[in-house]
Symmetry: C2
Subunit: 501 residues, 2 copies
Amino acid sequence: MFEVAEVGQKLDRDTYDQLVPQLRERLLDVQFRLKSADFSVVIVIGGVEGAGKGETVNLLMEWLDTRGVAVHALAPQGHRTQEHPGLYRFWRELPPKGKIAIFFGSWYTRPIVDYVFRRSDELRFDRELSRIVDFELMLSNEGTLLLKFRLHISKKQQRHRLKKLKSSSRTAWRVTRNDWKFHAMYDHFRPVCSRALERTSTGHALWNIIEAADRRFRHATTAQRIVSAIEERLNRKPALPQPAAALPVPPRVNVIHSLDLRRKPDEQKYSDKLDKHQASLGHLARQLGGANRAVVVVFEGPDAAGKGGCIRRIVQALDARFYRVLPIAAPTDEERARPYLWRFWRHLPGRGHVAIYDRSWYGRVLVERIEELCTPNDWQRAYAEINSFEEQLVDSGIVLVKFWLAISPEEQLRRFQEREATGYKRYKLTGEDLRNREKWPAYEAAACEMFANTSTETAPWTLVEAEDKHYARVKVLKTLVDRVKSALNCDPKCHLKRRPK
Amino acid sequence: MFEVAEVGQKLDRDTYDQLVPQLRERLLDVQFRLKSADFSVVIVIGGVEGAGKGETVNLLMEWLDTRGVAVHALAPQGHRTQEHPGLYRFWRELPPKGKIAIFFGSWYTRPIVDYVFRRSDELRFDRELSRIVDFELMLSNEGTLLLKFRLHISKKQQRHRLKKLKSSSRTAWRVTRNDWKFHAMYDHFRPVCSRALERTSTGHALWNIIEAADRRFRHATTAQRIVSAIEERLNRKPALPQPAAALPVPPRVNVIHSLDLRRKPDEQKYSDKLDKHQASLGHLARQLGGANRAVVVVFEGPDAAGKGGCIRRIVQALDARFYRVLPIAAPTDEERARPYLWRFWRHLPGRGHVAIYDRSWYGRVLVERIEELCTPNDWQRAYAEINSFEEQLVDSGIVLVKFWLAISPEEQLRRFQEREATGYKRYKLTGEDLRNREKWPAYEAAACEMFANTSTETAPWTLVEAEDKHYARVKVLKTLVDRVKSALNCDPKCHLKRRPK
């Protein structure tokens, strides 16, 4: 793959000097237009040591208006210090609409280095590349313009370059022992990088391989490609709105209908059972930190299904210092300016902590789908995006437990009326609630589709028959206890290999 | 101070059982009303080990709606791992309007522990307490309701409590070696804590000292005080709007007028000088990380004073991985929901990094004052708030350099017209620009007042004669180089003792 960048392309000084003023003006121009556009730009600069990555980024920063661009140099993290999934740090730094982020050292670094140094095997390397493809596809679908550059020099050029830097007292500090170590490994890196690039050079996120030995050629080519990619995107006509999809209709027999919603516990044993499970949960939760684990609990279900009550019973068992309840309401403007999942990534729990999401990222395929708050394409691709997100959580050691609390529409109405009667619950039945009830079948159909698409081996849904609140609470707590217990007894990575029993 | 909480206050079970349902209902009620109020609530729970802090917080979380409250347990940080000023972590977690945050382990912990274990002296302890007073006053002025609780038990009760916990297998894990170590130090802690509470029990942030030996008394009293404080605040009548202050008029002779704005450099040496200073800056910047230092540069001055050009010359000397230019525009809604300085705290540079603020927190006493975007009280108190903020930056090892670029109104008009002529700069002289020019004397007067109030020993302003752009750039770079150089040659704390020459 790299041969294309070993053909000796150069740019003479005169041509370069003529090009530069135009290039700079066009760069500033597209950056100015970008400010009010509804997409962001992510630029990835990669390449071997000595290929001039730093120089190129510095040059871009000199040519651009620094106020609209941020550079992120995220050094690869040791596995030990890693508290969150590998992509977490990159998610956190995604730029809002109208801005540019340059990633210097990107999501490619660790998978490649790990594989070359045999800290991962081929299966893992492949999986990590697939994950990157998913991530970049999601970015692209969410409106991010992704520009990836690989600055390439040959092994001979690399040696030459490192020696030259070393020879001058002004630049000698830039050559570290690591650089020589990587130089010695050049031939090992090359095929691995090539494989990574081939696998991830997709339609929405092509790699630009830049022949980097000649400084002027490298700079002009990189800047030119950035300008034309942003220009092209700015000039793109907005897509015609898709016709709204008809509301989904639930099949007559479905997974929710097949539940016996009225299941009841043995009332006499209710409080014993609750106590027992709470005690186990409290005990297990204290072991999370030491085991390098965290827990994410997701609650979904119709209004008044009893999510709040279940959450209350869970947190009673936990130490307030180590849990967080995250009610998911309308996104803030900072959240709205970034890809949809950003607002969930930013609140992921650290080691030893429990995060309870009261409604979640599943809003995308439920309320946002039914109320047409996003396009059909948006919610259709969300299934795969969510699966990839959840797989990353589980892979990083998070115990992920998802509950759907199921009640009938009649029970919901009864509970609405009860709330209205109790001043204390401060509730008024509004027109909105009633309208939502009309769409009950559509919500139910969307939920069934969601179970089918997102109840995965790594992150299954637990459907809870919730017309009897006591029954629901016991089932939720017992499930949670079982899941945490079995997670603490196994290696976080083992779910990848385990066969379902 | 603690004697008030050693009188044996108790609550019998019957009274408690009667109280609790009312208390819970009132708690939920105030929390519900808080949601749409324009203030946030910060609760600090402190006290010796074994006083029941954890139990109390867990209970509050059970009684409150967990969706509107977050608990932050921030363990004291070692000095070595500290990358930011001590209050940084607390600033980051400040709740938005309508929400409650409970701090468990607060900004009091480290100053007290450091002093008791002789890692700080009396001067430093006193200073840290003063800083806390400033911080809490600022919170209160910014609309945060601050409720501080100190749960108190006597040494004898503490021993009794630790032994009791130790004796049961269900609770023995809660007693650590550290607890016994602190128990042995009880008599050393007591006067130090007492001093801290006395110094910081101010009108806007009173301490509630709670006799904590009796569980029921402790819980009921804490909850009651929280309820009544929030209730009182919710019922408070909004203050009548203050009459707008007249626009300030600059004195005939002032510090800006006394500048010779037209100073010019020796043109022939301009580029040599620029090169020299940029080389020094680049060299010094590489040493920042190793010296545990960071740099914050602030640019203020009229529109078209040349801030962008100066920033460009600075970043040319830096490695793009280690600097960030922060243009200060309108706050986001997350920023607007928190105290004014929050949005500056959140972007503070880490070790080895340079942050350049293009306009800054000084907007409060300039544009927000003149355009009446805040009340007179808001900008008047901002001087002291800013000084405290900047002192914390400098104290934590940040080199803070503040530039005011001064031009005359005639020069500004000339530059506006020039911009309009150059398509490339994409500028149109708007009515707004001309209106702003009418207020020139007011802005100038506000700036002079700002210099008088915020050009401190630790963070002086540098006024730059900026009608000649070359002169301004050389002065900016030279000042920056000198400041960074002298900071690298001295201990970060020494500014506290150094006498001005």
